[in-house]
């Protein structure tokens, strides 16, 4: 393997109350893909921020090709050959790809025109398809990611850090990314690959380092790693990857959707003749690339959007288009955007928990609120859902994603739900929190609730759903029995190919 290209020695970084990185040491060799694994809060992002010059470590040193370096800014990091492909692209949406790439390094005159041959050479060399004249806001997440990769390479990066790069990609796009990663590796670049998805780590990485609570708890070549051993290292206890059992006996029909048609604000059709049936105790998974009508479908079901045609019957009766009345009928909604739609960030945990119930006693007391009842109810729910919060009066914005999601679950599932609309319920959550959210949903199905689960995580869909439908350009393909479709088939359907 030769000499390491990049070495971290005893990196320690403390924040008030936590040690985010505790004597982290690792090496990265030329032409190697190193997977960096860990739960949310394990210290991966802190470590990446240190490598990219956004944070300064409190102790420890960074060596590049054997000599210690000080990385004080992202520009420094790039100068030392460290490039970052961030999870959420940091690009100027209204500029073209070429303008974005010329920013900060181009020629004084006609910077975006003069950089074109350079882009072509680098993109072509590694099989990265980018159109330099396209506007960034029109690009898909995968294309934006390729622009970020090209940018790092343009700046001469020898080490590329990929921060959860597949979280926004379809399986096919992820495969294309892996091909690029292999090309880069063959050209002698070193890659740090950060991911939650253990299957991907096992297929692309050469070696993996596992972080837990800021410490390195494992550093092993990939041949010696397995899915279960890695998950246990990350979580610190046993994790089950078993497929969810089939629903024993499907109950009566809870939801019937017939020929649903809807148009977007701009008048384009977003739902085209969507129809399905959902029975009590059943989970219907909805897959699809963002923007193919999933959000609109859920909005119609949640009473937030008026359909142009078709019917929705909840237990035989047509649906009122009023979210508050829907809730009293037993429709719970776990929305896509937990911060903007699911909660009021500046209000307290207790107030957020009471958003559905503050108009009824005991919280409502005539036209006044009963603060004691509000706090008591909140404390009960915090305990029942194991929500980690300093107090029920803490503003919701201070909670981590997983705990905020638990607040939303606690609120929505407080009364027995008949139908649960869950959209990306575990997006951005770590394995532990994901398990808890899944368990809460499955618990509800055992009590007789029907679940519509929209997710971009195919693993999640396959392990929770009884049937899976794929949204493509406003049409619902399927649903198919979850036992009879594969990841690859769903991926193909998502992109419009035949199963």
């Amino acid at each position: 393997m030769g000499k390491p290209l990049l070495q971290l020695r005893d990196i320690t970084k403390r924040f008030p109350g936590v040690v985010a990185n505790d004597r982290v040491s690792l090496e990265l060799y030329p032409g190697e893909v190193l997977a960096l694994l860990g739960e949310n809060g394990a210290g991966k992002s802190t470590l990446v921020s240190i490598l990219y010059g956004l944070y300064r470590p409190d102790e420890g040193e960074i060596l590049i090709e054997g000599s210690p370096v000080r990385i004080a800014s992202p520009v420094d990091a790039l100068r030392h050959g460290i490039g970052l492909v961030p999870q959420h692209p940091v690009l100027v949406g209204r500029h073209t790809v070429a303008e974005n790439l010329a920013l900060g390094s181009g020629a004084a005159l006609f910077p975006s025109r003069r950089i074109l041959p350079l882009i072509e050479r680098i993109a072509g060399g590694y099989g990265l398809q980018v159109d330099p004249r396209a506007y960034v806001h029109q690009l898909s997440p995968g294309e934006k990611q390729r622009v970020e990769i090209v940018r790092a390479l343009l700046r001469g990066a020898k080490v590329l850090i990929l921060d959860e790069p597949t979280s926004v990609l379809t399986p096919q796009e992820a495969q294309a990314l892996f091909r690029v990663m292999r090309e880069l590796k063959a050209a002698g670049k070193s890659l740090i690959f950060i991911s939650h998805k253990l299957d991907e780590v096992l297929s692309i990485a050469d070696r993996c380092v596992v972080l837990r609570r800021g410490r390195v708890v494992g550093d092993l070549p990939i041949e010696r790693a397995s899915k279960t051993s890695l998950a246990e290292l990350m979580v610190g206890r046993q994790v089950s990857f078993e497929r969810r059992r089939q629903t024993p006996a499907p109950g009566p029909v809870v939801l019937r959707v017939e020929g649903l048609e809807a148009r977007s604000e701009r008048g384009l059709p977003t739902l085209r003749g969507v129809g399905f049936e959902l029975r009590a105790g059943e989970v219907l998974g909805i897959a699809g690339i963002a923007g193919n009508g999933q959000s609109e479908l859920v909005e119609v079901l949640a009473g937030l959007r008026r359909p142009q045609g078709g019917r929705v019957l909840l237990e035989g009766k047509s649906l009122p288009s009023d979210p508050a009345r829907l809730f009293t009928l037993g429709v719970a909604h776990i929305p896509e955007d937990r911060i903007r739609m699911g909660s009021v960030p500046n209000m307290s945990v207790a107030e957020n928990l009471a958003l559905r119930s503050f108009e009824q006693p005991p919280i409502a007391h005539g036209f006044l609120l009963n603060p004691k009842a509000l706090a008591t109810q909140a404390q009960e729910q915090v305990r029942a859902y194991a929500i980690a919060t300093p107090s029920v009066h803490t503003p919701a914005r201070l909670l981590s994603g997983g705990n905020l999601q638990k607040v939303i679950l606690a609120r929505e599932l407080a009364t027995q739900a008949r139908l649960i609309l869950a959209v990306h319920p575990t997006y951005g959550l770590d394995i532990g929190a994901t398990e808890q959210v899944h368990e809460a949903l499955l618990h509800q199905t055992r009590l007789g609730a029907a679940v519509v689960l929209v997710s971009e995580d195919l693993e999640e869909l396959l392990s929770l759903s009884d049937r899976i439908g794929v949204m493509h350009r406003g049409e619902l393909l399927g649903p198919y029995a979850a036992t009879e479709v594969s990841r690859e088939q769903i991926g193909l359907l998502m992109t419009g190919g035949a199963a």
Binding site: L54, S73, P74, V75, L78, V90, L91, V92, G93, R94, H95, E99, N100, A102, L103, G104, S105, G106, A107, A108, L109, F110, P111, S112
Partner: protein
């Protein structure tokens, strides 16, 4: 025919201060900073220009008058920059304050120049051509230079620009001060060329129209030329009608402000707000990247 040509000539003359001030505001808005203080900076520029041109008893320096006006506008804008960029205060409130302070200070300091004539004054031709040239120059700057790309990026996504090593604060300061200098220049055009004298309140709402015009032309310097001529024409018509109709003068005095509303309504109809730079009006804090 002669009437039409005359109207067009007057429209250009009216439109020139609008165009210069509009280009200044457009420049700092493309870099992400709104400055509603244009009216105040114009007043300060107008006074500074007149004072230097007049000197002691009418024999001041015409050549120095224009730089003095730009300096006055630029210094006022620097104050706005400090408050909004360094201290990260609300840009709209700071701009409104600057507008009132500028008008007030100019009115106070200008008392001794009130009603004095300026015998020797520059021709308007160079100003008109210069304003159009400036629009072309800005269009070129934005579309074809690294500096322009940097300025636009700072207005769209300052976090991305910062990550790539651009100095967001310096770029925004530069744009704000340059924008203020142009507002001062627009003011000098009024007090040196258009109506070579100083009167309190001589900017007459032109600064506000310039601010609204930025939105109307969709932050595009080339379209600003046509926008300015169009509103110059409306201004001309307003003055023509004032003499001939029996409508009270108060109605005409409120016309500039009605025009602002008209500009914004027309912009709304054309969906121009969608062209606004993404980070317009938002202070940049580094911790937020």
């Amino acid at each position: 025919m002669e009437e039409v040509l005359n109207a067009l000539a007057r429209a250009l003359s009216f439109g020139t201060p609008l165009l210069i001030a509009c280009l200044g505001a457009l420049l700092n808005e493309r870099a992400g900073v709104v400055n509603l203080g244009v009216e105040g900076m114009m007043a300060l520029g107008a006074l500074a220009g007149f004072a230097v041109a007049y000197g002691e008893g009418g024999n001041g320096n015409l050549w120095l008058a224009v730089p003095a006006a730009m300096l006055a506008g630029g210094l006022a804008a620097l104050l706005h920059g400090f408050v909004t960029i360094t201290l990260q205060a609300n840009q709209f409130v700071s701009g409104l304050a600057l507008s009132m302070v500028g008008l007030g200070v100019a009115g106070l300091l200008g008392k001794r120049y009130e009603g004095l004539p300026l015998f020797d004054h520059p021709p308007e031709g160079p100003f008109i051509l210069g304003a159009i040239g400036l629009a072309l120059l800005l269009a070129f700057l934005f579309s074809a230079t690294r500096l322009g790309l940097a300025l636009r990026s700072v207005g769209e996504n300052p976090a991305a620009a910062d990550l790539l090593g651009l100095n967001v604060l310096a770029l925004r300061y530069g744009a704000v001060v340059a924008g203020g200098a142009l507002a001062g220049l627009a003011g000098a055009y009024l007090s040196l060329v258009y109506r070579p004298s100083w009167t309190d309140g001589m900017t007459a709402g032109l600064g506000w129209i310039a601010v609204a015009l930025v939105i109307f032309v969709g932050w595009n310097p080339l379209r600003a030329i046509f926008g300015a001529v169009f509103f110059g024409l409306l201004y001309y018509l307003q003055f023509r009608l004032q003499g001939q109709s029996g409508i009270p003068s108060e109605v005409f005095a409120s016309l500039p402000y009605l025009l602002v509303i008209l500009v914004l309504a027309l912009s709304g109809l054309r969906g121009q707000q969608g062209n606004a730079p993404e980070a317009l009006g938002k202070p940049y804090r580094r911790g937020e990247r």
